[in-house]
């Protein structure tokens, strides 16, 4: 943890650099739909990330649960979005934290109902001669994926 303040230098003006984001708490959205929260320690040109004190946050409705994960190295191609967490805003969210077991159970139920809905839809389309391509979690809003 840095205790001295660093002067704000712009290493490459005009570039979307992550240099200024180092040592700050970040939320990382991965292509498989996972959410990681941790302190950004290192970056490179591929947006490979090193996160410390990482926590995997699982959201189901208005509830969430955290799984402590330690140090993470994330390969850049799996990163969708990296968001700086505003520590003030973090304390007044309407979300409720629950224990890990509960949230995992809720997630399992959510996945189950989602898969069942997907199955019936797929079957209905198949009967009409249409085959739907496998869509990924982040695909609905036009966020690209390759699997």
């Amino acid at each position: 943890m840095r205790f001295t303040s660093r002067p704000k230098m712009n290493y490459m003006p005009g570039t979307a650099s992550l240099i200024e984001d180092i040592d700050k708490k970040h939320l990382v959205l991965l292509r498989d739909g996972r959410t990681l929260i941790g302190f950004l320690r290192s970056i490179d040109q591929f947006a490979n990330l090193v996160l410390q004190q990482t926590v995997e946050r699982i959201h189901v409705g208005k509830r969430y649960g955290d799984i402590p994960r330690g140090i993470f190295i994330v390969r850049g191609e799996n990163v969708v979005l990296l968001g700086e967490i505003d520590l003030e805003k973090e304390s007044d969210t309407s979300l409720q934290q629950v224990c890990i077991e509960d949230i995992l159970e809720e997630q399992r139920l959510q996945q189950q109902s989602r898969q069942e809905a997907e199955k019936t839809k797929h079957l209905a389309l198949k009967e009409r001669g249409l085959v739907m391509p496998r869509s990924d979690i982040m695909d609905e809003y036009g966020v690209q994926h390759q699997y």
Binding site: T15, A16, L18, L27, R31, L82, G83, I85, K89, T93
Partner: protein
């Protein structure tokens, strides 16, 4: 500095924000973001600024009145002609 910086953009019908900077990979940095469907994506509540990897972006919507379509068309046409030569 990129001429689009400071505009309000909508990325992939998901995140709206002010364009802070862009780089050669079309990675996007947005400030003062808002999510179009906060119920579907509750994790973004405590995030004000974000970095979006260029490889995952499909669309970026720009404010229509800020774009001079005639100028853009002419510039694109010129560029295409230059490339041909």
């Amino acid at each position: 500095m990129c001429p689009l910086c400071g505009w309000d953009v909508l990325v992939s019908y998901l995140i709206c924000g002010t364009l802070h900077s862009v780089d050669q990979y079309l990675n996007i940095k947005l400030t003062d973001i808002s999510v179009t469907d906060p119920e579907k994506y509750p994790h973004m509540l405590s995030v004000k600024n974000c970095f979006i990897r260029g490889s995952v972006v499909r669309y970026v919507q720009l404010p229509a009145d800020e774009v001079d379509t005639q100028l853009l068309q002419d510039a694109a046409r010129k560029e295409a002609l230059q490339q041909k030569q």
